[in-house]
Amino acid sequence: MSMNEEKKEFRPLIVAFCCNWCSYAGADLAGSSRLSYPADVKIIRVPCSGRVNPMFILRAFERGADGVIICGCHPGDCHYSTGNYYARRRMALLFSMLEYMGIENGRTRVEWCSAAEGAKFSKTMNEFCEKVKSLGENVRLGDLRCKN
C-alpha cells in the first residue's frame, strides 16, 4: 500500500482542439465561472472543428498525447454552417479506425459544446481526463512499432 502511494500518480497528456466560436468560448466560460478541470488538458484554438485535420490528431498521439478531444459547436450551430458536420464524419471514421487497430476508444472523443456551456465543458474535460487516466499511458499508439 505504502509503495503504491509513493508511486507517482499518472497524469495523462491531453490535447483539446476547440473551435473558436462555441467550445473555446465555452472553455472561457468554464474559466470565468471557476469550474475547474485538470491541468492535464491543453487547448489548441482552431477556427472550426472542421479545421481539425486527422493529421493533427495522429501527430499528437505520435508525440505522446494520451488522449485527444475535439470540441465544436452543436450540430446546426456551426459558425460556418457546416464545418462540424464534416468534422463529425471525419472523426467517426477516424476513431472507428483507431479502435479497429486496437487503440482504446476512450482516448479519442468529440464533444459539442456551446459558448453557454461552461459547465458542460468542465464536466466533459473532467470525465475525459478520468477516462484517459484509467486507460493509463498511451503505450499502444506509441508502441505500434513497425520494427519489432
Partner: protein
Amino acid sequence: MQKIGVFVCHCGTNIAATVDVKKVVELVRYEPGVVFADDYMYMCSEAGQEKIIEAIKEYGLTGLVICSCSPRMHEKTFRACAEKAGLNPYMVEVANIREQCSWIHKDKEEATKKAVILARAAIAKVNLNTPLQEGESPVTKRALVIGGGIAGIQTALDIADAGYEVDIVEKEPSIGGRMSQFDKTFPTLDCASCILTPKMVEVNQHPNITLYTYSEVEKVSGYVGNFDVDIRKKARSVDFGKCTGCGECQTKGPLGKIGNIPSEFDRGLKNRPAIYMPFAQAVPAVPVIDRENCTYFKTGKCGVCAKICPSKAVDYEQQDEIVTVKYGAIVVATGFDIINLDKYGEYAYNECPDVITSIELERLMNAAGPTGGHLERMSDHKAPKEIVFIQCVGSRCDDDKGKPYCSKVCCMYTAKHAMLIKDHWPDTNITVFYIDVRTPGKNFDEFYRRAVEQYHVNYIKGQVGKVKPQPDGSIIVQAADLLDGKQINKKCDMVVLAAAIEPNPGVRKIATMLTASIDNNNFLTEAHAKLRPVESPTAGIFLSGMAQGPKDIPETVSQAGAAAVKVVGLLAKDKLKTNPCTAQCDTLLCNGCSTCANVCPYGAITYEDVQVNDHGLRETRRVAQVNVALCQGCGACTSACPSGAMDLQGFSNRQITTEVDAICR
C-alpha cells in the same frame, strides 16, 4: 528567425495568485526565437501597452506572445498595440493563462507548469506567423428585421430614422406581435394598443421601411455586410393594391362575422372567419385568406368574399412569391410564446375552461377582446368572484416539464392583473400563490406593494400542488401557506396560470439559417453576455427583444434601440475590413480534385486552368482559387484536401502541428 517578445500579465491577482508569473518569464526566456520576456500587472492597460510598444522598438521585435486572458477578450487590444508600434497585428499570439489556467487550477506549481506549456505553444506558433493584410468588402446599406413585434418595430424605426432602409419580415398577417394582445402595461398601466398602434402606423408610413407581413425568411447566404436573403411572401389571396381595408369580406362570409376558426390572436377564446385581419388595428389593414380553413380552397365552392368585395381585391389565384434582397445586417426579433401546459396535469388547464393562462386573461380584459372587456368565466359567462393566480408555472423548473429560468415578467403582470381586476370589479377576491416575488426595476416593487397595500391582494408563499375542478363549477386550489405553516384548500371560480415564456419555436430554424448560436433554452446567444448583449457571435447578426432572453417591454424597447445603433454603426461604414485569415491554395500541390470546393460553405473556391512552373516542368493545371472576399476562414477545405495544398493563414497546418508538438514536448 523571429525576434519574439513574451509578455506575461498578472491580471492583478487573477493570474498572479495561481501562476508564478516571474517563473513563467524565466522559463520562456530561452525558448527558440525569444529575445525578450517580461511581466506586468495589467498588460492590457495603457501602461502595459506602452511597455509592449517600447520593447518592440528597443529589441526590434518581429513577433509577440502575450500570456494573459482569453484571446477572445484582448487579442484585438494587443494586435492594435502591435500595429501602433509598426508591427503587423497578425504577428501577435495570445496564450490564455487566465480562463484556461489560473482561474481553473488551484495548485500553483501545476498552474505555473501549464502556463509555461501554453506560452511555449504560442511561441512555437509565432515563430511560423507571417504578416497578414486585412482585405475589404463592401456593405449593403439595408437592414433586415425578422419579427414585427414591439422589438422589431422599435429596431426598424430607429434604423429608419437614422436614414437607412430597413425591411421587416413578419410571419403573421399583421405586425404588432404579443404586445398588441395585451390590455394594459406595467408599471404605469397605459393601454397597450394606445402606445403601440401609433408605432405600427409609423412603421407602415415610414419611407425607409418596407413591410413583408405574412412572410417568412426562407434562405440566408452571404456574410456580414453582404447577406442575400430569400423571403417567401405567402399568398395573401387579397390584392394589396386594391384592398381598402373596409372589412366587408370579414362580416359577410359563410358564417358572418363570427366564423368558426379559433382566433390565434384571441388565443382561441373567440372564433374568426377564414378571411380575416387578426385585429381591428392590424397593419397592414389588409385581410388574408387562411387557405387551410377556407371553404373555397377546400371545396372549390363559396367564393362569397370575392363577390362582396367592393374593390374586387380578393384573388384566389395568388401564388407564394419569393423575393431575394441584399442586406448588410440582420436583426432577430422573433419574440416569445408561452409553453405548452399539457405536461402540467395538476393545474387542470386542459380539463377546465376556467383555468386560463395570463395571455388569455389579457384578452378577456381587453375591450376589443372576446368578451368586450367584461371579465367572465368561459364556462358559464358569470363574473368570477374569487380568482387565484399561480406563479412560476413551468418557470424555474429543473425537471423535464418546464424551463430552468425565471420568466421575469410574471410577477409584475400578475400584480397588474390583480389591480386592474380590483379596479373594475372591487368585490373580487384575489389570491396570488407565489414562490418568490421578484420585482427589480424602476417603480416595480412599489407597484407590487400597491397591489398588497392598496388593493389588498392576498399574496401567499407556497406553490400550488393541485387544481381540482368541482362538479358545481367551482375550483378548489390545494396549496400550502409556507409562512403560516398550514395547508389550504382554496375555493375559487377562476384560476390564472403564469405560464413560463419560451422563445418563439420558429427561432431555431432561423438561427440555423443565420448560423447564429442558440442556448439550451433556444434563446439566442450574445457575443458577450455583458459587453456585447445585442450582438450575436456571428458578425452582422443582432438581437432584439425576447429572442435573446426574458424581458419586459421597457427593456425590450431599450434593447431594440441598442440593436438599431449597432446596425447603424455597421451600415454607416462603406467598407468592412475582412478577416485576413483566409484559405490559400498552393498551386504546385493542388490536384484540382474539387474536394475542397465541395465542402466550402461560402462557395469561395473556384477552379481555373493556370500555367505553373513545377520545378522546371511547365504545364497548364486545373487548380483551386480562393475568393478571399467570400472566404470566412473556417478551414473546412484544409482538412478535406488530401495533398495539403489548401492551407489557412493564421491557422496553418504547420502552425497547428507545431503547437501540438510544443504541448506534447
